[in-house]
Structure formats: structure tokens, C-alpha cells
């Protein structure tokens, strides 16, 4: 028996019933805990929400500053009334969860329910709601400088995982921000909790970003500033994006040979021509034809070496970035002048006609015949 076999056998043995750790838990205690959780949620969703929101607002130093508005048309309103008597709807709970964290007490770590924040700056899912908080004068370093405006992002949010889920891990810089600098935080609401993304610990002007657990050296500040101004997620301007728009991962190569290993949450199509490129973000509904075409491809494992097909090799190149709820984003490359035409890591398919047709139908791209 090898060492590993022996260890596996010992681990298996301690998984069997025994006297040492066979105490279970009391069902009555579980039910009481569950009922307490339910009561707490009911309070948050019902008439008691006003007091809760007010308390949260006070604890976040918001009442001395400006309140936030869910309306894209309003940036700042006089305080009290909107927070003291909000409508008792489920969106109020979301609003309470997405109140801007106080920059004066830290970097606004990510809050979460069952969301794993350790592997990526944001989850691969598309958030249900998103807000951007703007902080003024972060460089002064005093809580008195706290001053947050908040805008709720309107429109499609599919670009958020597509832009941020593939940023690579690395330490966010702890630099000192300039006095008077602006900084921003991004609050994202998911079914299972809330994630806050903030720039490096120095605030505005400092590279890197963190969700409180995962750090990246890639700067997201330009995208947050743009979202605040546009009141919608517009992503990065050309030249500001920390990563190529369709950059993903091809590490997940040990499973079945398939280009779409799970249900995607969002799809981005990039068209590279020479040194320039353009991209289109699609929700899974709009991308359903592309997803179906990719799934129908006869995928095999094989070398990705380009074998010219007689068409002009090289540009344009299509790339498809897929984000998933539970795995790394994946990039597939479609080279119109090569065979195999579709490559995703070690997974290849010889022909891309159906996929290209689906892409042109979904994006309106015009490709050379």
C-alpha cells in the first residue's frame, strides 16, 4: 500500500461513525435559529425598515452629508425623508444593503452571504442591482472628509462580470491618495448577498482594487468613474482597460472536451482587426444562438496550431468571452484563416461556420467572406 493509499484509508476510516465526534445538533435549536433569521428578514422587508435604514445611515455618517438616490436623474437630495420613510418593498432591502460604506473606517470590505469572494474581484454572475458611490477629498485622511454620493446604475449590468471577473490576483497598492482626490466604490447586489469593490487602500488615484478578500493590481477606478458619470456600466475606455476585453482563462481543460462547460452568465464577442478591436456584450438571451452553436461544435482535444485554409490568415480574429457563476471566465478564439478554426485551450473544432453565423446575427459584425 502506498503512502497515499494509506492516508486515504485512514481518512476514510475517520469518516465512519465512531464514538468521538458523533454528537449531532439539536433540531429544536436549529429551528429556533431558523425562525430568528426569518423574523429578522421580515423586519427588514416590512414596516420596520425605516428605522433600520435610518440606523444604518446614521452609523455610516450619511445624515450629515448627502443622501443617495436610486433615481439616475438625481444626485443629491436633502436628507431625512427618503431614508426615514422609504416604501416598504423588497427593493428597500436592496437599497439598505447597498448604502455606501464609510471610507473613513476602512476600505469598504466586501460583504457577502454565500458568495465566494476569494477567487475573483466580482462573481461571474450578473448582479441584480449595482450602485457607484463617490467619495470626495479622500486624501485628507479624516472621517470628516467623508462625503458620498451614490448613483444606481441603470441599464444592462452584463458588462460588470465581463469586465471585472477576470482581473488577476495581486496586491492592491497601499499608496497615499492626493488631497482632494475623488474615489469610488462599486456595490453589487446578488441573490445571495452583496459585494463591494473598492480601489486600492489609498483611495482615488491608487492602482489596484479589492473586494475585501481578493485583491488585484489592475485598476478599476476609471470604469467606476465612468459608470458614476454615465449612471450605467460603460466599462473601460480604450486604453484604460487593464486586460484585453476578451481575456479569460483556458485553465479548465481537464473536464470533458466542451467549449461551454456550464451555463454562461454573460457573453462578450470581440473582433480584433490588426491593432484595434471592438467588443459587444450580450446577455444569455441575446447570446443564445452563439451558445447553442458552440455547444453543437464537434469539440476534440488537439493541437491549436494554425493550418492555413486558403483564406487570408491573421486578422480579423473573433474571440468569445464566457462568464460562469462557478468557474473562471473562458475565452474561445475563432481564427477565420485557420483550421482548427475554434480554439479554447486544448479544445479545438475544425470549422466555425455555424458559430460565425450566430455571432454575426447577434452582433451585426461584418466579416470578410
Amino acid at each position: 500500500m502506498s503512502h497515499d493509499d494509506e492516508i486515504i484509508a485512514r481518512l476514510g476510516a475517520i469518516g465512519q461513525p465512531g464514538a468521538e465526534a458523533d454528537l449531532g445538533v439539536d433540531p429544536a435549536g436549529v429551528l429556533e435559529l431558523a425562525r430568528r433569521r426569518r423574523r429578522t428578514r421580515a423586519v427588514l422587508g416590512g414596516a420596520g425598515v425605516a428605522a433600520v435604514v435610518l440606523t444604518v445611515a446614521m452609523s455610516m455618517n450619511l445624515l450629515g452629508g448627502r443622501t443617495q438616490s436610486q433615481s439616475p436623474a438625481a444626485t443629491s437630495l436633502p436628507t431625512t425623508t427618503s431614508t426615514a420613510t422609504p416604501p416598504a418593498t423588497s427593493s428597500t432591502t436592496t437599497e439598505a444593503a447597498l448604502l455606501c460604506p464609510d471610507r473613513g473606517v476602512g476600505t469598504g470590505p466586501g460583504l457577502s452571504g454565500a458568495i465566494d469572494l476569494s477567487a475573483a474581484l466580482v462573481p461571474g454572475m450578473v448582479p441584480t442591482d449595482a450602485v457607484v458611490c463617490r467619495y470626495a477629498d479622500v486624501g485628507s485622511g479624516t472621517p470628516a472628509a467623508f462625503d458620498a454620493d451614490r448613483v444606481a446604475l441603470a441599464g444592462s449590468l452584463v458588462g460588470i462580470p465581463l469586465d471585472l471577473a477576470h482581473l488577476v490576483a495581486g496586491p492592491a497598492d497601499a499608496c497615499a491618495a492626493d488631497a482632494g482626490a475623488l474615489s469610488y466604490s462599486l456595490g453589487l447586489q446578488y441573490a445571495d448577498g452583496v459585494v463591494w469593490v473598492t480601489p486600492g487602500s489609498g483611495g482615488g488615484g491608487c492602482p489596484g482594487a479589492t473586494n475585501g478578500v481578493f485583491e488585484t493590481q489592475d485598476g478599476v477606478l476609471p470604469a467606476l468613474a465612468a459608470a458614476y458619470q454615465a449612471r450605467s456600466w460603460v466599462g473601460f475606455a480604450q486604453g484604460e482597460a487593464p486586460r484585453w476585453a476578451c481575456e479569460g482563462s483556458t485553465r479548465d481543460e481537464t473536464g470533458p472536451a466542451t467549449f461551454v462547460p456550464a451555463d454562461p452568465t454573460a457573453v462578450r464577442v470581440c473582433l480584433r482587426t490588426g491593432m484595434s478591436g471592438t467588443s459587444t456584450d450580450l446577455d444569455v438571451g441575446a447570446a443564445s444562438g452563439i451558445i447553442a452553436a458552440l455547444r453543437a461544435l464537434p469539440a476534440t482535444r488537439g493541437p491549436a496550431t494554425c493550418q492555413p485554409t486558403g483564406r487570408p490568415a491573421g486578422p480579423p480574429v473573433l474571440e468569445v468571452l464566457l462568464t460562469f457563476a462557478d468557474r473562471d471566465p473562458r475565452t474561445l478564439r475563432i481564427n477565420l484563416g485557420c483550421r482548427p478554426a475554434v480554439v479554447g485551450g486544448t479544445i479545438v473544432a475544425p470549422d466555425a461556420v455555424a458559430v460565425v453565423a450566430a455571432i454575426t446575427a447577434a452582433t451585426g459584425y461584418t466579416l470578410p467572406s
Binding site: 492516508i7 465526534a21 445538533v25 436549529v30 454565500a114 465566494d116 475585501g212
Partner: protein, 168 residues
Amino acid sequence: MSTQTSGFEEFVVARSPRLVRTAYLLTGDRDLAQDLVQTALARTWPHWHRVRDNQPEAYVRTVMVRLQRSMWRRKWRGEVPTDVLPEPGSSAAPTDAVNDRVVLAKALALLPPGQRQIVVLRYVDDLSVEQVASIVGVAPGTVKSQSAKGLARLRVALSTPVPVEERT
């Protein structure tokens, strides 16, 4: 109890000892293990009508694993991993199941949290690679690689001193 939640208490009684065993190996602390299982079950209860006929234990395990990650993030750890095991493992024949459980629990505590989850689910709970991948939320390939790395670390932690002739 309503029909929506019927069978929940029976499930808790029948399955929680096994879940606590798993939680103990994940946390390295008996009180934390009890808390973890109780909280995971409490979060399962509202969804019981939906999950009771669809592998409820796997559902609870998934909640446990994710809750445990939240605990790590909040530094809510009862465990204090050390580099040195109080008693080297494999030199002692695992005839005493209780002692071996303690030794292995301490060795598991030396693994990085994510790796420990994978090793415990894979080898202690004897789940398949695909089941572990689903619960932990990683690719099957990650489960395989982390299992191998975890076993290698356990081998080092549990090993007796390397004989002289193997050092060259």
C-alpha cells in the same frame, strides 16, 4: 410542523452527527463544528420543501462549505494550526481510531482552507470528484490537483523521519 417542513427534524437527527464530523475536520474545533452545522441547517430549513427530495445532505454540505469560507474571511477561527504535530501520525499504527482522528484532524488543519475542504469532502466523506467540485464550486480538475497536493502535504505532516538512505 407543516408538510413543507416535514421530515426536517428527522433529517437533522439522522444526518447531523455525520455533518458535525465533517465540520470538525474542516474547522478543527468541536464548538465551531457544532455552530457551523447548526447554522447551515438553519439556512437550509427555509428551502427544505425544495431540497428534501433532492440530495438534502449535499445541499447542507454546500452551505457549510460556503459558510466556512465566510468564517475564514471574518477571522472566525477556533483553530490554531501549527507547523508541528503533537504526535507524528503514520509511525503509530492507526489502531486507535480516536487518536488517529485527532492526529489527522491536526494534520488537516495544516492544509490551506480550500485544499482542506477538498480533501475532507473527497476522502473523508468519500464523495466523487464531480460532487466535490459542485459543492466547493470549482472545476473537477481543481479538485483532482488540490486533492493530490493535499495528500502530499498530509504525507509530509504525518510522515516519520526520513531514513538516512533516502536523503541522498
